[in-house]
Symmetry: C2
Subunit: 443 residues, 2 copies
């Protein structure tokens, strides 16, 4: 039944507006763009963007799969009542002014009306975004907030504003998203329901979750345990101070952080400390299972040293590549062959290719970390062409940092499924989390 | 004397080339762009880019302040000899093939020739960049590596490639730089000499230092101790594995990391774990000294909670703002007034302004952390106009994350000296380091 949220054939926007900056206008416009049939509901308006307006969903003859409610809080209960009467199966309540400010009464009334008949996301949410179906109820103007491209990560956020800002950042960082949902007060559909749904969703490979508190800890724990896909969690409200703030935000009781954190670990979920870690780790999970011996290949000595430091810091191992004959034949005399292999500043794309291929063949290597200083003129595009066109039998991670010129190449690699990190530390930390996850799941 | 490196009136490029991708060509072209007089030296060429070529610096009648040597290693000793004879005071040896591959003999010969007569940066370096004088000896093509704008951070890197990639990233992140120097094998001018020079440099407010090892630990320690400007250090080669790699990179003996790390702390320097931390911390030092009570103001509840968590995690304090009358009068009824102050998703620029001004007046507030979700349509540009035009009497840090739309506003604020961070955790960690530094310096 949750599929009506992400793949509806028709939708009604209750509180649709003619004013271009109003939420009811932006959402209506976004839904029209997705190509489905959308009905604007507003008793005071004849038409919006050339589409005939209705006073109530009850005035519409056709079926409606999804309702999006954007009216002021005092009008929400009645809107829900009409949606149930119209036999709508899925309803998003964008409006705020409920549990988060102590108004539990209306929430209970809404639940009583909808129970067993209609599923509800919200209230107090920014809604949904699905990069595949293009369903988009986010009420931020598109010039202010970009929407990310299609990808394998689904993202659930208790906070709407956090979700929206991160989606915008995802776009900038070329992080592809499958489904996004902001769940706010989650009086009905909650994080556990969505985990269940996303575990079966073909477009979702990894799930990222921003939580302040959970509705039912026991159910959440069991759902996490039975997930076949990796789940990465940010827990906000860890400290006394943060927990206090979260109470007035989405009305969540944060509970003891240390208990929550060890529960996550036991359930096989991965905890991230911030949004950067969350998506760094998520990227790593597009990769195959593997051991922990890392071969570093670099054309910048400094980054190579920092990577070796990080491998040691995160308790991974440097591999001991055995057959170095071909590498020695092809690298400059003063190149350093070991781990890191430093092809040096005059190293070429061809040298990278040889080092990668020898590392792929070598039994002592589990993972290959390729650091490329693209700024150096001896490196041409052919290393990118090579990396993007291979189906590697071992996980290959790439590190590169810089501005436009680097970003262009990074985008190409990520489109072809190769995770690229801007710092060696973030790459190695993500490798570490991938390995931890695999080990825990195999226990 | 080190000023001849950064502010020469004339320079010679020994090994200048007509071939557009060769180091000797790129450096020659970069130096010409700086507007100083530049002489190409190459016995096999008549002219380069329309400038008459000389066989040797000795054939030039005019004074030369700076020599940049780009010839193969076996020709370097002779080039140095001629530079000394020509009474050139500063010389950068770009060429590699010396101590880092065991060739100590030529290094000793070079030192013997130049001692007391000419200062040398290198060998095995990418050279210098000065955003003010525009002196630029970095041999990466400009379409591959951008140069950062003018700013208050000077950056010394033992690794050339690390330095170049980070400068490129600085450009993307709008991090302004004063002087950059890659010091490589540093047979003569080393990190300690440059600290001394930069401490007196008017354009330098903070110094960022990437080190694998130091030449003279005792001198380095004493110089750090007497510095009046903050110094932020990344130490690479912390682990056994990393230290081994650094030996073959710049020939540095890495030594014991724990000893080094506590030496830094005792000397009042700040250690950063990676390049992100290094420049995050550096940004914070553009700010005034202060206490540790932080007032958080946000229009996104989730980020507010995460910031409160970070304040607790880094042992700072949430301030207890006393006079909230004006704030209450002007914020939405369901806004949360405390710490964080959450003006909510319908909060306006005017509300931010009121909260900031009340926090500035309040004696319990030392630092203001303003989190702005710019994606929301209720926020207009006037908050940016307000922030950029004030001379705040307390440190104001800003957090915003997103893509293009956010980046445009971020750039405006940073140009006006307000540090902006993409995540609350990075902002709070940087505040923490600022306060630690101040406390240590005041002891």
């Amino acid at each position: 039944m949750l599929d009506s949220f992400f793949n509806p054939k028709s939708a009604a926007v209750i509180g649709a507006s003619r004013e271009s900056r109003k939420f009811g206008h932006i959402i209506f416009k976004n839904l029209i763009k997705s190509g489905i049939k959308v009905y604007p509901i507003n008793p005071n308006t004849e038409e919006i963007l050339g589409v005939k307006c209705y006073s109530s969903v009850l005035d519409i003859n056709e079926n409606i799969d999804l309702a999006v409610i954007v009216v002021p809080s005092m009008l929400v209960v009645n809107a829900v009542k009409e949606c149930v009467e119209k036999e709508i199966k899925a309803c998003i309540i964008i409006s705020s002014g409920f549990g988060e400010i102590g108004n539990k009464k209306d929430e209970e009334e809404i639940l009583k009306l909808s129970k067993g008949k209609m599923r509800i996301i919200g209230p107090n949410v920014i809604g949904l975004y699905d990069a595949y179906s293009k369903i988009d109820t986010i009420f931020n103007l598109d010039y202010r907030q970009e929407r990310p491209e299609k990808g394998g990560i689904s993202f659930i956020s208790q906070s709407g504003a956090f979700g929206a800002a991160i989606l915008d950042w995802n776009y900038k960082e070329n992080i592809g998203i499958s489904k996004f949902a902001s769940i706010g007060n989650s009086i009905d559909v909650n994080e556990t329901d969505l985990l269940d749904y996303l575990n079966k969703d073909d477009n979702t490979k990894v799930i990222a979750l921003y939580l302040e508190g959970v509705k039912n800890g026991r159910k959440f724990y069991h759902k996490l345990k039975e997930m076949s896909k990796p789940v990465i969690v940010i827990k906000a409200g860890k400290s006394k101070e943060g927990a206090k703030a979260s109470l007035s935000h989405t009305g969540s009781m944060a509970g003891s952080y240390s208990v929550f954190s060890s529960m996550l670990r036991q359930a096989g979920a991965i905890e991230a400390l911030n949004e950067e870690e969350m998506f760094d780790f998520a990227k790593a999970f597009s990769i195959l299972p593997c051991g922990k011996r890392v071969q570093i290949i670099t054309n910048g000595g400094g980054f190579g040293i920092m990577a070796a430091d990080a491998v040691s810091h995160y308790n991974l191992e440097l591999s001991n590549i055995e057959n170095t004959v071909k590498i020695k034949e092809n690298l400059p005399a003063f190149a350093s062959i070991g781990n890191p292999i430093d092809i040096t500043g005059i190293g070429t794309s061809e040298m990278y290719k040889i080092c990668i291929e020898e590392s792929l063949k070598d039994k002592s290597v589990d993972i290959i970390l390729v650091i490329i200083i693209m700024q150096v003129s001896s490196i041409d595009n052919s290393i990118i062409d090579y990396l993007k066109s291979q189906k590697f039998e071992k996980p290959v991670f790439v590190c590169m940092t810089g501005s436009e010129f680097v970003e262009v190449h990074k985008k190409v690699l990520e489109k072809h499924g190769i995770p690229v990190y801007p710092s060696v530390e973030r790459a190695v930390k993500s490798i570490k989390n991938l390995i931890n996850y695999i080990n825990r799941k195999m226990q």
